[in-house]
């Protein structure tokens, strides 16, 4: 029995649906879990991303300054980096705002349709939420910023797809989903 691999999962600009799908593997997850240590994830209480991780699954796109800092740090510390789901791969739903831009989106959601300090704001919306990471004008897929070792499309990828991908990764192979996985 080879040594356990370390696995991390990350949630950036996405809806957590990919993580739900990961959990949808149900009892297969228990079987697989003997082959890895989950060292960082929204599913466990671990605040610091470890210095070295064998496999990291990243859900979500790059939408703000924090996402960007994180993905560079994660790339440096990860051996096999996997883009999990359509947001990570294409921008998907997270990138729906790209056609109108961050400012217009913020004004619509937190200004016109909400009650609060931003409702009648005159200046830039982004300047009101200074304590939050600044949104980029465009949400972009992970591979626009860092190199990606494997792509697992789907919104979300099915539990079967994730099971296949994770099994391959744990066996030391890079999963090839061409001809199998679909977008959406």
């Amino acid at each position: 029995m080879s040594e356990k691999k370390t696995l991390a999962t990350v949630w950036l600009d996405g809806c957590s649906g990919c993580h739900m799908s990961l959990l949808d593997m149900d009892e297969r997850l228990i079987t697989l879990s003997s082959q890895f240590d989950l060292v960082y994830s929204p599913l466990v209480d671990q605040k610091i991303f470890p210095a070295h991780v064998d496999i990291t699954l990243v859900e979500g796109a790059i939408g703000n300054t924090e996402d960007l800092e994180k993905i560079h740090m994660i790339r440096e510390r990860t051996r096999i980096l996997v883009a999990l789901g359509d947001c990570a791969i294409t921008g998907n739903v997270s990138a729906l705002r790209n056609a109108c831009g961050a400012e217009a989106m913020l004004r619509r959601v937190y200004g016109e349709s909400a009650h609060g300090p931003a409702q009648n704001a005159t200046g830039k919306m982004q300047d009101i939420f200074v304590q939050l990471p600044r949104l980029f004008e465009r949400v972009q897929p992970l591979h626009d910023y860092v190199s990606i070792d494997a792509f697992v499309p789907g919104c979300p990828p099915t539990a079967d797809t994730i099971h296949f991908a994770l099994s391959e990764l744990l066996a030391g192979r890079v999963p090839d989903l061409s001809g199998v996985a679909k977008f959406g």
Binding site: A83, D86, I89, G91, V93, A95, L96, A99, P141, G184
Partner: protein, 238 residues
């Protein structure tokens, strides 16, 4: 069995084959059960070579040729599959996805889309060229149908079915290059078109979610272009 008069003999993927006079490489290939990917081609409509997915190698030709509009010549040697062609088809597919906003997860055609399934067939797992994210409009002015430019790949099936089969020619293409778009009549809201007969043929032949019927969701949103060859055959026999 003797060959039909004027039959062309040619080689496709190393196999000797024959084609009727005027037959396209695509048509002959399909008769020989050879798969060539297409999106703009549709059985029953004239071909225009718009999507470029069916590009093949023809020995002696200096460029790749679309199988749907290239006719078989005597002695032609055609290759329908090679690493080079696979690369080009992948790139074509990626360009189609990057050009407009093809967000499968929230598209009315999700799981009923020829573009989405073709991406799977061609093994596309991501798009390497930058997405353009253009701001495009949706025309819902027609009583029964909607046009969403975000999902249009300019295959012109709608234009052709409206002109060739329905005879209305409501649809056309306006603009050049990246500015190209399908329009109804003189680029006016579809609902105000005077030529549209509301027959819905354009909706049925659209390979993506660019044209869809209102109030159709879930399993009822699939399209059925099978009426086309049927109509063609019926009219030819008259």
């Amino acid at each position: 069995m003797s060959a039909a008069p004027g039959a062309k003999t040619f080689v496709i993927d190393g196999v000797d084959a024959s084609a009727t006079p005027g037959q396209t490489i695509l048509s002959a290939a399909r008769e020989h059960n050879i798969f060539i990917p297409t999106l703009c081609h549709l059985e029953g409509l004239g071909d225009v070579g718009a999507c470029r997915l069916c590009l093949v190698e023809v020995k002696g030709a200096r460029r790749l040729l679309p199988a749907c509009t290239t006719r078989v010549d005597e002695g032609m040697e055609v290759t329908t599959n090679s690493p080079r062609l696979a690369d080009y088809r992948q790139m074509t597919m990626q360009l189609l996805f990057a050009e407009r906003n093809h967000v499968c997860s929230v598209c009315v055609a999700n799981n009923h889309c020829e573009m989405q399934s073709m991406a799977t067939t061609l093994g596309m797992t991501h798009v390497e060229v930058p997405y353009r994210f253009p701001a495009l409009t949706v025309d819902a002015s027609h009583e029964r149908f909607t046009l969403d430019h975000n999902r249009c790949i300019l295959c012109t099936r709608c234009v052709r079915v409206c002109s060739e089969i329905e005879g209305a020619h409501t649809w056309d293409v306006m603009g050049r290059g990246i500015q190209s778009k399908v329009i109804t009549d003189l680029d006016q809201p579809w609902g105000t078109s005077e030529t549209c007969t509301s027959c819905g043929k354009c909706v049925q032949v659209c390979p993506t979610g660019a044209l869809f019927q209102k109030n159709r969701t879930g399993e009822r949103r699939g399209k059925d272009p099978s009426f086309l060859p049927y109509l063609r055959t019926m009219r030819e026999e008259l």
